[in-house]
């Protein structure tokens, strides 16, 4: 089974990389149906096949992007698209501070910037459903949510200070071959604010927005998956122009039918 999946993805990888130049460092994620902690209706969601970056975008890659796209440099960026802390850890438009390693995940980027970056690569940001789908995996299983060790590992990261200083690719890769979904930085998703929450977790009970503690008791599919609660909470606290120290991103790509 494992080898079958593996060879399949190798094959896809080869086929894909023949088709597009950008699919280097991406893996095919086979779509399926699953029940997330929160869907819009707490029911099954369907994820189609897509390719995902195996690493989050690095500082170096982002630097390249800035060279090619001056309008996203911190002196030029439109303030509507990025708040004041955008690239605050860069000393100049094209140089990060000396303390930042080029192979660290890029951070202090807004959603608009992340979205533009992916679009420039012919990619896009993953949806919450896609991101959560891939993030269910641990090193051996694609849906590891039932394993106590899965939650424990993720929470250990939530409690460890300053992981954003770590390098990309140091956490174990998951069953899909993707690194760093947990353990490095939070990541932007395309529809990060589509789960309507007010920030008042208990009030969300009487809305259909079915998120957070009170409603969790009624609606959430897995009460003990509180690591996921925390991810939904951080997404709920964001605005698209925000940029944050512990927040980076990665891109995904649709499988284009006409290329079949």
């Amino acid at each position: 089974m494992k080898t079958k999946v593996f060879s399949l993805f190798i094959m896809c990888l080869v086929v894909q990389s023949l088709m597009f130049g950008q699919t280097k460092d991406m893996v095919l994620i086979e779509g399926s149906r699953y029940i997330p902690l929160y869907g819009r209706d707490s029911t099954v969601v369907e994820v189609k096949d897509f390719n995902m970056d195996i690493y989050p975008v690095s500082t170096e890659e982002y630097k390249q992007f800035l060279k090619e796209n001056p309008k996203w440099r911190k002196s030029k960026v439109v303030s509507l698209f990025a708040d004041k802390s955008y690239l605050t850890n860069w000393k100049t438009d094209l140089e990060p501070k000396d303390s930042i390693h080029l192979n660290s995940p890029v951070n202090y980027v807004s959603w608009f910037a992340a979205k533009a970056y992916c679009e420039c690569q012919n990619k896009r940001l993953p949806t919450i459903d896609e991101w959560e789908y891939v993030a269910m995996a641990d090193e051996t299983t694609k849906d590891a949510r039932v394993k106590p060790s899965y939650n424990a590992q993720i929470l250990a990261w939530y409690e460890a200070p300053r992981t954003k200083e770590n390098r990309i690719g140091e956490t174990p890769k998951n069953a899909w071959g993707v690194y760093d979904l947990h353990g490095l930085v939070w990541e932007w998703t395309l529809d990060f604010n589509s789960v309507l929450i007010t920030g008042e977790s208990r009030k969300d009970v009487d809305k259909d927005s079915n998120l957070f503690c009170g409603s969790a008791a009624v609606n959430a599919t897995d009460l003990m998956n509180y690591a996921a609660f925390m991810r939904y909470a951080i997404r709920g606290s964001l605005k698209a122009k925000y940029s944050m120290k512990n927040l980076g991103f990665r891109c995904v790509q649709d499988i284009k039918k006409e290329n079949k």
């Binding site: 802390s85 920030g199 925000y242």
Partner: protein
């Protein structure tokens, strides 16, 4: 006014949401109209200190700037925990206001933090107590404002999902709303807040301990402490007063789960503002403080000595850390307390040799000490967890109740007897340094390694005979 009905509906809604804000409508219309003059930056203090009383100042626009920090701290000796804090301390900074103040509250979430947070102040009249308006991502800040309508002592806490976890990690504190003209003056004021902690490892297990959600759901606390850690109010950190002074304690309970039976051993509260509100009860021994609630207690200290603050659900005090100290200095008042009658020691088990009923099996230490230095280090940790409550930080004991270990003739005379006391317990009259003690020490359910370490620590501290006790010596005594 058109708002006559609204507050009623509003308070009903609040009641249904069980937020606990009981509303007095008449008071509203009065206090809501208090005018404010000038701006003032609020003084915030970390526990056990409280800011300067409001006295007779007029209502003002009060600027409160509070920063959220996620940081590692020490829950007890050798046990680390990542606290989430308001203002860098557990409980969070004390906020002192008067009725009618317009508080402009800015909540800043430090960029190094991983999580979004918010604040629900029970002193706020408004949906969520400010939670919705203050929901803030790391590296950002949010400002909202509210008018203090009801005098009293209120809890504030974080209300971001998972709420229980945010509170369990230390995100709570107190905000005081003083009545017009302020509370009556007293000599000493302190800030104390109880909280329960849930760690992956058992009580006392060394290292960085992560939060344990299952234990929290089961309400099975490993630590119940005052002011965020086991030793926060003991030894050098004890609060102090002088004979004849009136002490006022602002006592809160952050929970998340447990209700506190707050008691000061050897004192009677002259006055208790029940649940932090207007109702004053007098001559109270133990006052109940609900999770998410508070009380103001006042008492005059008449005699010198050390007074122990406890949650009188007493195993929490002696086994989980809910123990603090008030040290009172001054002249003896023989009329009030002769010194010959024994102080109110709490011996819940009665006389006779007792076992600690926590476990039937003694777990062997996983990390045996490799050197004398390690023996001393581990021994001190065990001492602080098991012996300190009675024998005290410098081994001085408590006169007439618990014998001293410092320069103790009884201890130094016979090592095997000392090992036997730790392993088997001791009751009945003994003479130590010329004073008679008639008390009970329970059998200590700790491993042979731990017995060796703690005795080595005791023998090599406070002017004792510097003996080194080994595991073998302990095992030999056990075999007898």
């Amino acid at each position: 006014m058109k708002t006559l009905l609204k507050p009623i509906i509003f308070s009903l809604t609040l009641l249904m949401l069980s937020c606990g804000d009981s509303e007095k409508q008449e008071q509203h219309s009065a206090t809501a109209e208090i005018p404010v003059s000038r701006e003032m930056i609020a003084e915030l203090t970390s526990p056990p200190n409280v800011p300067t009383p409001v006295g007779r100042r007029k209502a003002k626009k009060l600027i409160v700037n509070m920063e959220i920090l996620e940081e590692e701290g020490e829950l007890t000796d050798g046990v680390k925990y990542v606290y989430w804090t308001f203002g860098g301390s557990v409980p969070g900074s004390f906020i002192r206001t008067r009725v009618g103040d317009e508080v402009e509250f800015t909540l800043s979430n430090h960029p190094d933090n991983k999580l979004p947070h918010n604040i629900d102040l029970h002193a706020v009249t408004g949906p969520g107590g400010g939670a919705e308006s203050s929901f803030v991502a790391p590296g950002h800040e949010k400002t909202f404002s509210f008018k203090t309508l009801n005098p009293g002592l209120y809890v504030y806490h974080c209300a971001t999902a998972p709420v229980g976890m945010h509170i369990a990690n230390g995100m709570y504190g107190l905000i005081l709303v003083e009545p017009e003209g302020g509370l009556p003056q007293v000599d000493k004021e302190y800030y104390i807040m109880q909280g329960d902690f849930y760690t992956k490892g058992k009580n006392g297990e060394r290292g960085l301990q992560p939060f344990d959600m299952q234990k929290a759901v089961d309400e099975n606390a490993d630590y119940v402490v005052f002011n965020g850690s086991v030793g926060a109010l003991t030894g050098d950190n004890a609060i102090t007063a002088k004979v004849g002074e009136t002490v006022r304690l602002y006592v809160g309970n952050g929970g998340p789960n447990l209700v506190s039976s707050f008691h000061v051993i050897g004192e009677i509260f002259d006055k208790v503002h029940v649940e932090g509100g207007d109702l004053i009860n007098e001559n109270v021994q133990t006052t109940l403080i609900p999770a998410g609630g508070a009380a103001i207690v006042e008492f005059k200290v008449d005699v010198p000595g050390t007074f122990i603050l406890v949650d009188h659900s007493i195993f929490r005090a002696f086994n989980k850390g809910a123990l603090g100290m008030l040290k009172v200095e001054g002249e003896e008042q023989k009329k009030i307390y002769s010194g010959e009658i024994r102080e109110g020691i709490y011996l819940p088990e009665g006389p006779g040799i007792q076992n600690m009923p926590t476990t039937n099996e003694i777990v062997e230490s996983e990390i045996p000490a490799k050197s004398f230095e390690e023996q001393m280090e581990f021994g001190k940790q065990i001492y602080m967890q098991n012996c300190f409550a009675c024998h005290q930080s410098e081994g001085q004991g408590i006169p007439n109740a618990f014998p001293p270990l410092a320069k103790s003739d009884y201890l130094n005379a016979d090592v095997d007897r000392a090992i036997g006391v730790v392993v088997n317990g001791l009751s009945g009259e003994i003479t130590v340094n010329g004073n008679k003690y008639n008390s009970v020490m329970t059998k200590q359910m700790i491993s042979s390694d731990d017995v060796a370490n703690v005795l080595t620590y005791v023998y090599n501290s406070w002017g004792n005979s510097k003996k080194v006790v080994t595991k073998k010596m302990v095992d030999d005594v056990k075999k007898k």
